[in-house]
């Protein structure tokens, strides 16, 4: 579609009723392949996109968007933006940004991935399912075996001189297996996210998921009490992701985070460093400019336990009298501007995963938690989560454990970190950035079981 022409028309038609204007366009091309019992059970393809519009009138900003990008929508989006801006009475100033001096040059598009023939990708998913089923006769079914690819294109153009675009691609693969022994049913899963197809290894993915499922057979609950807890890397990343709202300036300013006035204070154990790195190679959250056109930055959020900064966009930074951290974020062209990390991760520590286990007399290794969207409260920091994993005794893994909950408060958990592993891994990307962590040992958490 000829966006250039449409954007010009929008700016031309809007100039009478609006002072500054911005157009944000997102286009996506996706493929998804699911395999079931040796066949391509589901094959999805798409090409879609949307256009979001922001316009300033009388110092107030109004939003509108459309997925029908043609001339018929031009007048409607301008009219809607004017109407939406009219009633804004927030005292925080929001502005269309005039651009940063310099932007990092990033190569986020891997040509090799798009050139790899579809057949090869389909074969890969089929091999993955076959391999998983062949590893052990207790693997009774596969409840998820899929490969997907997303190619995205972001355009930001405004009447203050910004004209930016960025193209990237990424692929993922996910496997979930069901294992059964007598009446005992368990599941195990594995995944990979990367734009380098040569890293996709069906044998290791199948092995990981099957081993996880099998190792959970015979799991039982454990006596309620306080235990030292080791969170496996991607699980700590999931928990961290849930509590990202406490680090967003938006929430701090609105009294929805207890990190208010905690800059330069110790909020975590001194061995804990948290980094936001938008320039990571092959990073799902990598980007040279944020969703309002600010150049992105590498920064430490927590440096050896000390809170260094919140995540900011232009509006929240302006309110605090500092410059934006380049974390302006639009969930999609349908969402207003908010804030999100890029590639956020806990820096590797100096213990190996084995050291973490060996250092534990009697505790639990948690390999999965459920209910983060409901059992964790990003305002209070409280969490109580269904979990499973293994009991550790005298520095060795003893048996699988399930039907337990672990409960704590995230603010306390950050301070109770005892050891950090050196096995940084990124979790499956959710909304807003990509989050990673090494495995982490917490002094103790309350466990509810029998």
């Amino acid at each position: 579609m000829d966006y250039k022409n449409t954007v010009e028309k929008i700016f031309e038609s809007g100039k009478d009723s609006l002072d500054d204007m911005e157009v944000f366009i997102e286009q996506e091309k996706e493929i998804e392949i699911d395999v079931f019992e040796g066949e391509i059970d589901k094959y999805n393809i798409s090409e879609s996109g949307g256009l979001s519009f922001r316009g300033v009138s009388n110092g107030k900003i109004g939003y509108s968007y459309t997925e029908k990008i043609d001339e018929s929508s031009v007048n409607l989006i301008i009219k809607d933006a004017v109407e939406n801006g009219k009633y804004i009475d927030s005292l925080d100033k929001e502005e269309i940004f005039s651009g940063s001096k310099e932007y990092e040059e990033l190569n986020l598009y891997n040509e090799e991935l798009s050139k790899t023939p579809l057949d090869k990708k389909m074969e890969f998913v089929k091999s993955l399912e076959k391999e998983a089923l062949s590893l052990d006769n207790r693997v009774v079914s596969i409840d998820g075996c899929s490969y997907g690819e997303v190619e995205s294109y972001r355009i930001l153009q405004n009447t203050k001189g910004i004209n930016l675009e960025e193209k990237k691609n990424t692929a993922y693969c996910y496997l979930s297996v069901v294992v059964k022994e007598n009446e005992d049913i368990k599941t195990g899963s594995s995944y990979i996210v990367s734009n380098d197809f040569s890293k996709f290894d069906y044998k290791s993915l199948a092995k990981e998921a099957v081993e996880e499922g099998l190792s959970m057979l015979g799991a039982k609950s454990i006596k309620s009490g306080n235990y030292p807890i080791i969170f496996e890397n991607h699980i700590f990343a999931n928990i961290l992701e849930t509590f990202i709202p406490i680090f967003l300036a938006e929430n701090v300013q609105k009294g929805l985070s207890l990190l208010k006035s905690k800059i330069d204070n110790e909020i975590a154990a001194p061995i804990f460093t948290l980094i936001d790195n938008p320039f990571m190679e092959d990073g799902v959250g990598s980007r040279a400019f944020d969703d309002e056109g600010m150049a992105t930055k590498y920064k430490k959020i927590i440096d050896e336990g000390i809170l260094k900064t919140y995540f900011h966009n232009w509006k929240t930074a302006n309110k605090d009298g500092i410059s934006s951290t380049g974390n302006g974020y639009r969930g999609s062209y349908k969402s207003p501007l908010s804030i999100a990390p890029t590639n956020l991760y806990v820096e590797n520590g100096d213990s190996s995963f084995e050291d973490l286990i060996k250092s534990t007399d009697h505790g639990l290794l948690i390999i999965d938690v459920q209910g983060l969207h409901s059992g964790a409260n990003p305002v209070s920091g409280d969490y109580s989560l269904s979990a499973y994993g293994y009991e550790i005794e005298n520095g060795n893994i003893k048996r699988p454990v399930n039907q337990i909950t672990i409960a704590g408060n995230f603010y306390d958990t950050l301070k109770d970190i005892e050891k950090i592993g050196n096995d940084l891994k990124f979790a499956l990307p959710g909304m807003g950035g990509q989050i990673g962590s090494p495995s982490i040992k917490i002094k103790k958490l309350s466990v509810s079981g029998e």
């Binding site: 079931f36 999805n44 798409s46 109407e83 368990k186 306080n226 969207h373 209070s380 509810s448 029998e450």
Partner: protein
């Protein structure tokens, strides 16, 4: 929404490589979203979602493609591209599209689009003040407003041609209470398949007060004890227990591939005899009600469990083929961007005979979960979890002090057997359910029930 000739041409193109069924889904949706923080309108956004999805079946397998460009030229291109995934002899299918008559379950009086923004903001302000003025411990109030008008057209190679309009309205109020450097939240979020007349039926201020009442109660609550105990789950959103613990396992998405604990259990006992459960997509103007599902089939009242015996599943067309089971009008999707699959509409446990007072007074000691938060389930194992938003201890058959931070965990088939009392006070509540075909509006519901024994995860004792 799309010319009949174009629809026919696209369906023929989709079937050109031997597919045995093709379907086209056109969506045109207008949304308004507003957010108010601390009584001030923070942002307001509105826009139009527009796209077309094309689905092709080949036996048990399916191909799906979507696009925003509905020109005939592009749709033909997309249909042909999708069809490339199938490589068979073209079947002899002749199209004869017949427009379906649709029964309207959701009568709408005032289309949200026709209402001035200022009136919508007025409603939000009422919610805000109700919440803010409730108590001095309330430190922040966030009010979200949503309305949408979704127009859909569904046509398929079996001759179906159906159009429907879905109008939905919702107000969500979140209150935060602060005390001693701690924060707790309370939430109330009524919604319906109605237009702006919804606000003649509900009182925004009362919902604000309710959100604040919960936040205030919880900021003054003690930590919840942990362990196994009897749990009395109150009516309304308590129904999320059944939704998670059982409902998802009855969706054909997992039953068809026999990855659900409820696969092959039809007409077998799966629950205690006091449990009867229903999914009903036809209740007038309810949040989870639609006239037709996203495959164009009229919604139904589906009996799932009757007196503890499994009576039915929720089935879509594709999984129905694998299961050899008629579709139940339960196929849903968030938007044209996702192919539809079997989902819940308004799911609830039917009324029993006990009164609320009987249930509480017959419980020596345990937990009263008055309001639940969300939860999730692994359909393969049936293991579920959900959060208690507002909980109280039951001591000597009486509800005593409030407790916070509790999570309930268990196993779906086990918990169904352990429900030993069902009240006579059925109530439905609104939620958004996320699964393979995206987020869809659903009602959950139940009367007050008692679960003999459930693992309660609390934090008491971790100091």
């Amino acid at each position: 929404m799309l010319n009949k000739n174009i629809i026919e041409n696209v369906l023929y193109a989709a079937l050109s490589t031997g597919g045995d069924f093709a379907e086209i889904f056109v969506e045109d949706k207008y949304i308004t979203n507003m957010k108010m923080v601390g009584g001030l309108l923070e942002n307001s956004i509105s826009g139009r979602d527009y796209g077309v999805g094309i689905r092709i079946f080949n036996g048990f397998n399916s191909v799906y493609a979507y696009t925003n460009d509905s020109s005939e030229e592009n749709l033909m291109k997309v249909a042909k591209e999708a069809a490339l995934a199938i490589n068979l002899e073209k079947k002899d299918i002749i199209l004869n599209l017949m427009k379906s008559d649709i029964k309207n379950n959701n009568k709408v009086i005032v289309l949200p689009k026709s209402v001035e923004k200022s009136k919508k903001i007025e409603i939000m302000k009422r919610g805000h003040f109700g919440a803010k003025n409730y108590d001095e411990s309330i430190s922040q109030v966030t009010v979200s407003y949503l309305d949408e008008e979704q127009n859909v057209l569904i046509a398929n190679s079996e001759g179906l041609l159906a159009e429907d309009q879905r109008v939905r309205t919702r107000l969500a109020i979140q209150s935060v209470a602060t005390k001693r450097g701690e924060m707790q939240i309370g939430y109330s979020a009524p919604g319906a398949s109605m237009g702006f007349e919804f606000y003649d039926n509900i009182n925004a201020e009362e919902h604000g007060k309710e959100a604040s009442r919960i936040a205030k109660t919880m900021i003054n609550a003690d930590l919840c004890p942990s362990g196994k105990m009897p749990v009395v789950i109150h009516n309304g959103f308590g129904g999320v227990l059944f939704h998670e613990a059982c409902g998802h396992g009855l969706e054909a998405t997992s039953v068809a591939k026999e990855t659900s604990v409820f696969s092959n259990k039809l007409n077998k006992k799966v629950a205690s005899p006091v449990v009867t459960a229903i999914d009903d997509g036809t209740i007038p103007n309810e949040w989870g009600t639609t006239n037709i599902d996203d495959e164009g089939i009229p919604t139904k009242k589906n009996l799932l469990i009757e007196n503890g015996i499994l009576k039915g599943y929720l089935v879509d067309k594709l999984n129905g083929r694998r299961m050899n089971y008629e579709p139940t009008g339960s196929s849903r999707r968030q938007s044209y961007k996702l192919p539809p699959t079997s989902r819940m509409n308004n799911t609830y446990i039917a009324e029993g005979k006990s009164t609320f007072e009987e249930i509480v007074s017959n419980t020596e000691s345990g937990l009263f979960a008055k309001k639940l938060g969300g939860g999730s389930v692994n359909p393969a194992t049936g293991d579920f979890n959900f959060a208690v938003m507002e909980g109280y201890l039951i001591e000597n058959g009486k509800i005593t002090k409030p407790v916070r931070g509790a999570t309930l965990i268990g196993n779906g088939s086990e918990v169904l057997e352990k429900i030993d009392m069902v009240g006579n006070n059925l109530k439905l509540s609104q939620g958004m359910c996320g699964s393979v075909s995206g987020l869809v509006p659903v009602n959950v519901g139940q009367p007050t029930i008692r679960v003999k024994s459930l693992t309660v995860g609390g934090r008491k004792g971790d100091e």
